[in-house]
């Protein structure tokens, strides 16, 4: 697989051109409301793509299209085409359970299950049949926690409830839980908005490390965060994709007046 070959190259390599996901003419309606309008966007492999924009601009809506979490919302309707490795994820034949195993998600509020730390991580592998209980599962749990940078902190209390951890630890637990099913893409919906600056720094560092193995799409309200963690940035406004490009370019030389206004803090 291409992605595996690339993962061996250093993280600082120039952005690759392999497209992991591609949205073409994507529209989302919530009942009568046209929440996302004709969005065309490419998500490139092994990059962090940041989606920024003022509240209600459609960035979270777009993110939730990528693993069909919008299906859960009553009255939501998606049109257009969203491809994952060239296959339409809204295809009738596609199994949404399988899709969500390939495109994982981390939410705004840390949301561990009210179960033990171990069971939180093991849940995904168990339901997807990646491992039965025993040494195989232990290995997945431990390696996921290690990759999320949490193992050292929790290795003595794997059987304690995940809800007993601090906010930042809970969010890294949720990241560990997402990577335990070996997804190809991880969607993050403002993963640091409920965290303090120190916990945020840890999660950002983690995002940068995860880029080596995963493709990441992150929604953020913090432009500094977008600038710090992403290689590409897409700016949304009122349901439309206004501008997309290399993060450096978006922040130093935006092409569109709206983008410029937003990143310089004139609105938003």
């Amino acid at each position: 697989m291409i992605s595996e070959a690339q993962s061996t190259t250093p993280a600082s390599r120039p952005a690759s051109d392999a497209v992991k996901m591609r949205a073409t003419g994507a529209n989302v309606y919530y009942g009568e409301k046209h929440a996302l309008k004709e969005v065309n966007l490419e998500i490139k492999s092994h990059e962090v793509t940041a989606l920024i924009g003022p509240s209600g601009c459609g960035k979270s809506t777009f993110l939730r299209c990528l693993n069909r979490m919008n299906d859960l919302i009553e009255g939501a309707r998606v049109t257009g085409e969203i491809l994952l490795d060239g296959h339409d994820i809204y295809d009738k034949d596609l199994d949404v359970v399988h899709l969500r195993a390939r495109v994982g998600m981390v939410f705004q509020k840390p949301n561990p299950f009210p179960k033990s730390i171990y069971d939180n991580i093991a849940y995904g592998p168990r339901i997807h049949g990646l491992a039965k209980s025993g040494p195989d599962l232990d290995e997945i749990v431990i390696s996921s926690l290690e990759r999320a940078g949490l193992y050292a902190e929790v290795k003595d209390r794997l059987n304690e409830p995940g809800t007993g951890l601090s906010g930042g630890q809970q969010q890294r637990l949720c990241i560990a839980r997402a990577i335990a099913v070996s997804p190809e893409v991880i969607l993050m919906d403002e993963p640091c908005s409920a965290l303090d600056p120190i916990a945020t720094a840890k999660v950002e560092e983690l995002i940068d490390e995860l880029r080596e193995n995963f493709t990441i799409v992150i929604v953020t309200h913090s432009m500094q965060q977008a600038a710090r963690v992403s290689q590409r940035t897409a700016f949304f406004h009122l349901g439309e994709l206004v501008e997309v490009g290399a993060t450096e370019k978006i922040f130093t030389n935006p092409q569109h007046k709206l983008t410029q206004g937003y990143i310089t803090g004139r609105f938003g």
Binding site: L72, Y123, R177
Partner: protein, 436 residues
């Protein structure tokens, strides 16, 4: 307008300091104190009524838990019990034990020999249950035939009520002057004793108050409730899960929801009529059976269980669902692994509240014939039976004075069942409660 309001707010009278402001502040605190006082008064009134209710029931019912016994010198006369000497079970159980008691009474009171009225008076002091006691003893051990012994036998309810002070010490008690005199004699001689009333817990219903027991009603209630739980819990939870987690929200599900909410408010006797028509008339199930009672109570409790289960499912935070589905759990896995376990304490609480209502329900049972006089203890759920609340109703309508205290005792037993069930509900809720 703006100008006016500005001048007003600048006015010293509406400031937050000064004598006027202090007055307003005091008024606010007074209002708060009054409000708290209203609450305390209403709680006090509620507690008072509860205390009065419990006190009156306990005062009336406590004496039913004891029963007077008379010590009599009984001779197990072989001629009377088993003239053939076969010691056959059928012969022993058909024997005339009343004769033994009458003989014992004559032995105790030699002066009544030959006086038919005096004999009848004295015989009315001893319960008909005494015969059953003697028969039980003989059947358990036929070797006692031919021996004699001092045996404690249950007193009649009339004597019992006089001794307990529930009935006046005159002929209105149902005993004649002569009988009352003999009763006083027995009392003075120390051959009267009040024992724990085991009949209340081991016998079925009876025309003789002193022999009437609750076990038939308790077993009937137990069977009915077991059937109710077995049917209404899975049905109710499945319905709630489907409506809450799987059904799309449209006009049909709205209609169903409105109907379920309305059903919860339907008087239970209507469900009794429905059960009578469907289960007895159409399906031909046995009348007066706990099976049908359980089915009727299932109808009564289903709406409550569905509504409380839906509320409990709704209370599971949405991010639990998102977390599960974001990991690729199917809808069913999400429900079975996360939502349902987290909703379980609430569902159990709702179910037990519904069961507590069902155990106290009598109207639907009246409609399907569980109101009959049933002496036998039901062995299976298709045998005729009554239930505890129906037994209360039956005893309350009985004319014998001794049923007054037994009615209260039955209410106490029913209340005890309810208390146990509610305690279980609290225990289960605490046990399964999880924090998030």
């Amino acid at each position: 307008m703006t100008e006016l309001s500005m001048t007003q707010s600048a006015h010293p009278k509406v400031g937050t300091t000064g004598a006027d402001a202090e007055k307003r502040l005091k008024a606010r605190y007074r209002a708060e104190k009054r409000f708290r006082a209203y609450g305390l008064v209403s709680i006090a009134i509620a507690l008072l009524f509860l205390a009065v209710l419990l006190a009156s029931i306990i005062a009336k019912g406590a004496s039913a838990f004891t029963q007077t016994f008379i010590e009599l010198p009984v001779t197990f006369d072989a001629e009377t019990i088993d003239p053939d000497g076969s010691r056959e079970h059928s012969a022993l159980s058909a024997a005339d034990y009343r004769t033994l008691i009458n003989a014992a009474l004559e032995k105790k009171f030699p002066e009544i020999a030959g006086d038919r009225t005096a004999k009848r008076d004295v015989q009315r002091l001893v319960s008909q249950g005494a015969e059953l006691e003697l028969r039980k003893m003989v059947l358990a051990d036929p070797k006692i035939i031919g021996t004699s012994a001092e045996i404690w036998l249950p007193a009649s309810s009339a004597a019992d009520q006089v001794l307990k002070g529930n009935a006046a010490h005159d002929e209105s008690s149902g005993l004649s002057e002569g009988a009352l005199a003999k009763l006083d004699l027995l009392k003075a001689a120390g051959t009267l004793k009040r024992r724990f009333n085991t009949y209340l817990f081991t016998n079925g219903d009876s025309r003789q108050p002193e022999l009437a027991g609750l076990i038939g009603a308790v077993v009937g209630s137990f069977y009915s409730l077991a059937i109710t739980i077995a049917l209404s819990f899975p049905l109710g939870v499945a319905a709630a899960v489907y409506l809450e987690e799987f059904a799309s929200k449209n006009r049909w599900t709205d209609l169903i929801e409105v109907n379920i909410n309305n059903l919860a408010a339907v008087p239970s006797i209507v469900f009794g009529l429905l059960a009578l028509e469907i289960f007895l008339n159409v399906l031909g199930l046995p009348r007066s059976a706990p099976l049908v009672g359980g089915l009727a109570l299932t109808l009564v409790s289903l709406p409550t269980i569905i509504i409380s289960a839906r509320v409990a499912l709704k209370a599971v935070p949405p991010w639990i669902r998102e977390a599960a589905q974001g990991l690729g759990a199917s809808r069913q896995q999400m429900v079975m692994h996360h939502v349902l376990p987290l909703a379980m304490p609430g569902i159990l609480t709702g179910t037990i509240i519904a069961m507590a209502r069902a155990i106290g329900e009598s109207a639907p049972l009246l409609m399907i014939g569980m109101v009959a006089f049933v002496v036998d203890i039901p062995a299976t759920p298709v045998d005729p039976a009554t239930a505890l609340p129906v037994q209360v109703y039956l005893w309350a309508a009985s004319p014998e004075r001794a049923f007054v205290e037994r009615t209260s005792a039955a209410i106490l037993v029913l209340l005890a069942c309810l208390a146990v069930m509610n305690a279980t509900a609290i225990y289960l809720r605490k046990k399964f409660e999880r924090r998030w």
